[in-house]
């Protein structure tokens, strides 16, 4: 045993320090979960604050705003998931039909660009385009005669989900096609040739060969994404949201942040995070079970 340790001391040195770093920044914060069961105050710290049991969770489940925010979180990640999934497959299929290599590469390069642009810039562009005063969307709609007055997109909450989904779709559409294009490129060419011989048209080849070929990968990615449904970001909501649409734009993380830093109730904020992690684990475990049933695959 000792000799085994000695023979790989270099290997251990190459892994343990970084493992420690990882634990420091990802596991040590879990210690803070105790705050959810305390009446935490900054001055007393975790060691000095009195325990309060499950009272914050009881409050949480009585809080109407919490359900509203939970709804926003789930609806927005669900919408993004579906839009991205359908859009990426459709775009990959279209790109696959393009014969001119140069055109295909150009379209790919262009649609990848938004992935590399920060959400701050994206939000700036989105807000600018939707602005009631000189924004391109309102301008075009007015010129085409669909509306007489500019629409106040960002001040009506009911628009927010659509705007948020479109913005994310625009940002990640091209990037998400990469994997599907690779899968299509890896499909057996004999199948297409056989279909040609049998006189299949483009649509038939797409429907009977490309799409079934994509399905295993697509289902796998969909299942994995479902596991992360509650974990989706808050950057875009933070940047696009404002006081007028907050009933539709606020998500769990932002609610927790707001409660902790604006109101000063840290314990409640942490209780929200704990709840979120519990749901996340539940989703991942069930999704993993679904994935195993679905095929010979383990998510981890």
């Amino acid at each position: 045993m000792y000799r085994k340790w000695l023979s790989q001391y270099q290997l251990l040195l190459m892994s343990i320090p970084f493992m420690a770093l990882l634990i420091l920044f990802t596991y040590v914060p879990l210690w803070g979960w105790i705050m959810a069961f305390q009446d935490y105050s900054l001055s007393k710290g975790i060691a000095g604050s009195p325990f309060s049991g499950f009272s914050h969770f009881a409050d949480l489940f009585r809080d109407d705003r919490f359900y509203l925010v939970l709804r926003n979180t789930m609806v927005m990640s669900g919408l993004s998931l579906v839009a991205d999934f359908v859009g990426a497959i459709a775009l990959a299929l279209l790109l696959n039909e393009v014969r001119a290599r140069f055109f295909k590469r150009t379209v790919q390069t262009i649609t990848y660009i938004p992935h590399f642009v920060s959400w701050v810039v994206m939000a700036n562009i989105v807000l600018g385009s939707l602005s009631p005063d000189g924004g391109i969307v309102n301008d075009v709609l007015m010129k085409l005669g669909f509306i007489d007055e500019p629409i106040l997109f960002m001040s009506k909450g009911s628009w927010f989900w659509a705007i948020h989904t479109m913005a994310g779709f625009w940002k990640e559409l091209g990037w998400s096609t990469i994997i599907y294009l690779a899968v299509i490129a890896g499909l057996n060419h004999d199948l297409y040739e056989a279909a040609d011989v049998d006189g299949a048209g483009r649509f038939q080849k797409m429907w009977h060969i490309s799409i079934p070929g994509l399905m295993p990968t697509a289902m796998l990615l969909l299942i994995l994404a479902t596991g992360n449904l509650i974990n989706t970001g808050y950057e875009s909501q933070f940047l696009l949201g404002n006081g007028l649409n907050i009933d539709y734009s606020q998500v769990l993380d932002l609610y927790a942040l707001d409660y902790s830093f604006s109101i000063g109730d840290y314990s409640y904020g942490v209780a929200i995070s704990v709840f979120k992690s519990a749901i996340s684990i539940l989703l991942v475990v069930s999704v993993n079970m679904a994935a195993r049933r679905f095929g010979d695959f383990k998510a981890f």
Partner: protein, 298 residues
């Protein structure tokens, strides 16, 4: 190959659709670029679309001479360069250790790593940890916490595992330890994967604004994206620049009223975006592989 009429229609429809998509994707960026080169007072009259109507470099002059923006740009450059180098180095070394089946306790480390992908302590405990570590308002908070990326570790690990075992074995027989095998044999063969992962890490570091919003309030350490967010939020670029004060140059411009909030925001936006867009075409041929390994072999 001859195309039947229906094929031709089909092809045309696809080309038109894709061209339209490319246009819709590119236009907002192009328009922002155009506005950043257009006289602010002229832009506010409306109708500036594909080409600057009255070309000027004024917006950039103001932005680049503004001390805060220049400083923020430098912070971002330093953060991206140092953070990428550190993260790639650390993650590569870590993954090499994790790619060896004989590593004691590897299975447990792996479980620890995977779990972090699905849940975290949440923002507030994390905030308090950074606070307790004394990392608030330091440059380190911008590069150290995200140093080990589990996704990148998995990609590296897969790549290392796929290397022909004979190469490493012969090095070991010649007396190389694990570490020198890694440095002399494995690293030189990992060019493509290092290139694509470096790009991903660099993009994330460059584009991240949220951590600085939480952890930094020293104006000297604010990265460009966070500054842009502040500007956007306050939408008072003019006032902010004016309050810097002192500069006759700025006063002159504001008296002339040819620079507007919008034109300055657009110029700042370009300064914050162009560096990363400029790098990516050079790494494009590498990153497809990185994406594939990362998304399927987890």
């Amino acid at each position: 190959m001859r195309l039947s009429p229906s094929e031709r229609v089909f092809q045309t429809v696809i080309y038109v659709l894709l061209a339209l998509l490319s246009f819709v994707t590119l236009y907002p960026f192009w328009n922002s670029l155009v506005i950043s080169f257009n006289l602010g007072s002229d832009t506010s009259l409306g109708g500036v679309t594909f080409w600057p109507r009255s070309f000027t470099l004024q917006n950039y002059e103001v932005v680049l001479r503004d001390g805060r923006i220049a400083q923020a740009f430098l912070v971002s450059v330093a953060r991206t360069a140092a953070g990428t180098a550190l993260s790639i180095m650390a993650t590569a070394i870590f993954s090499y250790g994790m790619s060896k089946a004989e590593l004691i306790g590897r299975k447990y480390y792996m479980i620890f790593c995977i779990v972090t992908l699905y849940f975290s302590g949440g923002l507030i405990p994390y905030f308090l940890l950074i606070h307790d570590l004394g990392m608030m308002n330091t440059f380190w908070v911008l590069i150290v916490p995200g140093m080990i990326s589990i996704w990148n570790m998995i990609i590296f690990r897969t790549f290392f595992k796929e290397m022909p075992a004979g190469l490493e074995e012969s090095a070991r027989i010649d007396g190389c330890g694990y570490f020198s095998t890694f440095v002399r044999i494995v690293l030189p063969l990992s060019g493509p994967v290092i290139a694509s992962l470096s790009l991903f890490v660099a993009v994330n570091l460059w584009n991240d604004w949220f951590s600085a919003t939480l952890f930094i309030n020293n104006p000297k350490l604010v990265p460009i994206q966070s500054l842009l967010q502040e500007i956007m939020n306050a939408n008072t670029v003019t006032e902010q620049l004016r309050s810097q004060g002192g500069s006759n140059f700025l006063d002159k411009i504001f008296q002339a009223r040819t620079v507007t909030t919008k034109s300055l925001t657009m110029a700042t936006m370009m300064v914050a975006t162009i560096p990363i867009i400029a790098v990516y075409p050079f790494v494009q041929r590498h990153f497809v592989k990185g994406v594939l390994v990362g998304s399927l072999k987890g």
